[in-house]
């Protein structure tokens, strides 16, 4: 365990955040650095532990440009950081209660996400994903109707939608992933212990209503 602490140290890292030159202490995350320096309008922050997907940043190191999560990235000298605006509203629409039958899910999927079949395997999504998810493969699995496996690939997805931004075909991989996960639960998760308890409670309620009408 390293025991180094930042308290009392002189700021010794210089970088730019949203175009402003700032100084930070080594070991600070980009979120901490932005606040420390009073950079205005940094409100796309939430959990500060990499699970809410809010703190999306674009990073420029020399010529190399990448995206990441500000709360999971530590300050470096000369790095340029831009906090990204909130993601725009999704373009694919469905309501899960509209699906009546598991058999036609695959057809529905292709209606809702027609672009998913046009993946050009550019790895843009994989490179963008801060969680190391095999997004491209997840999309391919969903496109092949393998929703359970596709959903599993997206298990650590934190809805940052950086993959959506990266995708040249506008496939919206993050939403393909969530669709796959939701469909799997909605149609296939039928746990006996829960179902049995629900039935017991139903019978109890029925018994109670019967008894009430007896007493009347």
């Amino acid at each position: 365990m390293s025991t180094s602490t930042n308290e009392g140290k002189q700021p010794d890292v210089t970088l730019t955040i949203n175009g402003l030159a700032v100084k930070a202490n080594e070991g600070m995350t980009l979120v901490e650095a932005a606040w420390h320096a009073g950079v205005p309008r940094v409100t796309s922050v939430g959990c500060m532990e990499g699970v809410c997907g809010s703190c999306r940043v674009m990073l420029r190191r020399g010529k190399e440009v990448t995206v990441d999560l500000a709360c999971q990235t530590f300050v470096e000298n000369d790095i340029e950081v831009v906090f990204l605006p909130p993601a725009s509203a999704p373009r694919h629409h469905y309501e899960i209660d509209d699906f009546k039958d598991g058999w036609d899910i695959h057809a529905r999927f292709h209606d809702i996400f027609p672009e998913a079949s046009r993946c050009r395997h550019c790895h843009g999504c994989d490179n963008a994903c801060p969680k190391g998810i095999t997004v491209e493969n997840g999309v391919a699995l969903a496109d092949a109707g393998r929703y359970r496996e596709a959903g599993e690939a997206f298990f650590e997805c934190i809805m940052c939608e950086l993959c959506d931004v990266a995708c040249p075909e506008l496939i919206a991989p993050a939403h393909v992933g969530l669709f796959s996960r939701r469909i799997t639960a909605h149609f296939h998760l039928r746990p006996p212990n829960l179902i049995h308890r629900l039935e017991e409670l139903r019978q109890e309620r029925q018994g109670a209503t019967l008894k009430e009408s007896d007493e009347e």
Binding site: M1, T3, W35, V42, G46, M48, E49, S54, E156, I183
Partner: protein
């Protein structure tokens, strides 16, 4: 607090296979709580002077916010754009989303306004799981008993039985929305037993239960035709009718451009979550950035009764190190899976699965009495013995706690090899707005659900009941708010603001402080200009 065993010395002495000695018996839990729980810190509780709870106890820093001036006055309302809607939900965590979905399902046009991003919440960070009595040896009755006992019998039995009775149905509803849970090989939902439970009742999705819940509900809300979502739009005041007796809307601002907006509605559902980011008593917190207690301030100003304002949950195992994760949780699931707490002299000192307030007090006692492990003058903690757990169950940490492993990996720590240094962290607001079984507050037209509401957890919450509460009461309030077929407001006013200002003046209280807080000072960075 400069006593304690220096970190290097404690680390050198640490062995995952060391004898831990006998667990000392806990003879008197009340004395331990009184001596060491932060709620009992001297000077941390005051009496409220104005409002519906005047004369009652309240945590000092919270009392300052409850008894403060609004940001908005009548002049601000002139010329402000107005939106009319059936149901306004304030807060985009689990409770708000459940309420919005249910209201929409019942036919209401819903506006969901949230301070940050939709889903940026305490809900998304919940790791451990959600309680529901589904195992054969369990019952709704036992769930009720455990909840009331865990809350030191301060909870409202009617609310507790409503919630516990909803448990199995809540799971079914979540599955219908598309939420996955961990299963046993035979397909049952996997359950764990955690602190304060008399049997296994904690259902989970590995250690990402809140994330799985939030991303599914977020998607369902975004996709829903009858729900409009406004992000970066915190509520800064409620609106009342001419007599100030009824809630008829809210004033929202925008974190992006500062524009005020009036929303007129028949029902307002407050789902603003907790207040960890107020850092009560100077503690670190496990909460997300938006948890600044705004809902309590708004509800109190419009006249709603609140309860248990002097009772907060400090989670026993917040990380002490590294700095940028300070206050962040190691889920109780790790203790439920068998990880022990060990002090700086290498002894166990408390049954790890006792209720959180007791475990937390025991850790603070170890630290205060010199048996903690010290990083520097400010930071003292105890070990959470994860390497021992890994030795007993190789692979368990990686398999069941991927979230913990990912977070520590980023910081270069491996909990399979090094024990984690932990210290209590401000985690949960036990009390909140007084509600009935529909989530209705004491003010007509105003509902409160989730962490902002009170009465279920008494003076201490047991793990897994918050996630159940937010869905159970979120759904109930969504239905009830839609059933409210009032004509809607004729006039929206700030009569309640004037009323509280008069009371403050009469009581000779300062009018300089304004609330709600909206963002912690260190994050305000010039956006949120008061």
């Amino acid at each position: 607090m400069s006593n304690g065993i220096p970190l290097a010395e404690a680390l050198a002495r640490y062995r995952p296979d060391a004898e831990l000695g006998a667990l000392p018996e806990l003879t008197d839990a009340d004395t331990l709580l009184n001596a060491h729980h932060p709620d009992h810190l001297r000077g941390s509780v005051v009496k409220l002077v104005v409002g519906a709870n005047a004369g009652e106890n309240c945590q000092r820093e919270l009392a300052n916010l409850l008894q403060s001036e609004a940001f908005i006055d009548e002049a601000d309302l002139a010329g402000t754009p107005v939106t009319d809607i059936d149901v306004l939900v304030i807060g985009g965590g689990g409770a708000g989303c459940a309420a919005a979905l249910m209201a929409a399902e019942k036919g209401a046009r819903v506006l969901l306004a949230t301070k940050l991003r939709l889903g940026d919440s305490n809900t998304v960070m919940a790791e451990g799981g959600i309680q529901a009595a589904i195992e054969p040896d369990d019952s709704v009755q036992r769930h009720i008993q455990d909840t009331l006992r865990g809350g030191h019998h301060a909870g409202d039995p009617a609310l507790v039985s409503a919630m516990a009775g909803d448990g199995p149905e809540v799971l079914r509803w979540l599955i219908r929305q598309g939420m996955q849970f961990e299963q046993t090989p035979s397909g049952d939902l996997h359950t764990r037993r955690a602190g304060g439970m008399s049997t296994a009742r904690l259902v989970h999705c590995r250690d990402y239960t809140g994330l799985e819940m939030m991303r599914v509900l977020r998607e369902a809300v975004i996709q829903h035709r009858s729900i409009e979502v406004w992000e970066q739009s915190p509520a800064v005041e409620l609106l009342s009718n001419e007599t100030g007796q009824k809630c008829v809307g809210a004033v929202l601002t925008s974190l992006l451009d500062g524009q005020l907006r009036i929303v007129r509605t028949r029902s307002v559902i407050l789902a603003t979550g907790g207040l960890g980011r107020l850092h009560l008593n100077g503690f670190p917190t496990s909460n997300h950035l938006g948890a600044t207690g705004d809902g309590l301030v708004l509800a109190y100003r419009i006249g709603a009764r609140l309860r248990e304002l002097d009772s907060f949950q400090y989670h026993p195992t917040g990380l002490l190190h590294p700095t940028h994760l300070a206050g962040k949780l190691v889920t109780e699931g790790v203790r439920a899976a068998g990880a022990l707490l060990v002090n700086g002299v290498g002894h166990r000192f408390i049954d790890e699965l006792l209720p959180r307030d007791i475990v937390c007090s025991a850790i603070l006692r170890e630290c205060a009495e010199g048996r903690g492990i010290r990083i520097d003058d400010q930071r003292v903690g105890v070990w959470l013995d994860t390497p021992r757990l890994e030795r007993a169950n190789p692979g368990l940490l990686e398999k069941q706690f991927p979230n913990l492993m990912t977070r520590t990996r980023v910081s270069g720590i491996d909990p399979r090899i090094e024990p984690l240094l932990v210290h209590p962290t401000l985690h949960y607001q036990n009390g909140g707005a007084v509600i009935d079984a529909n989530g209705a507050t004491t003010v007509p037209g105003l509902y409160a659900v989730g962490e902002v509401a009170g009465g279920i957890h008494g003076r201490n919450r047991i793990m897994g009941n918050a996630l159940l509460e937010i869905i159970s009461f979120g759904r109930r309030a969504g239905i009830a708010a839609t059933a409210n077929r009032d004509r809607g407001p004729k006039k929206v006013t700030l009569e309640h603001v004037n009323r509280l200002r008069r009371a403050l003046t009469l009581a000779d209280m300062p009018l300089t402080r304004r609330a709600p807080q909206v963002l912690p000072d260190y994050a305000a960075g010039g956006v949120w200009n008061r």
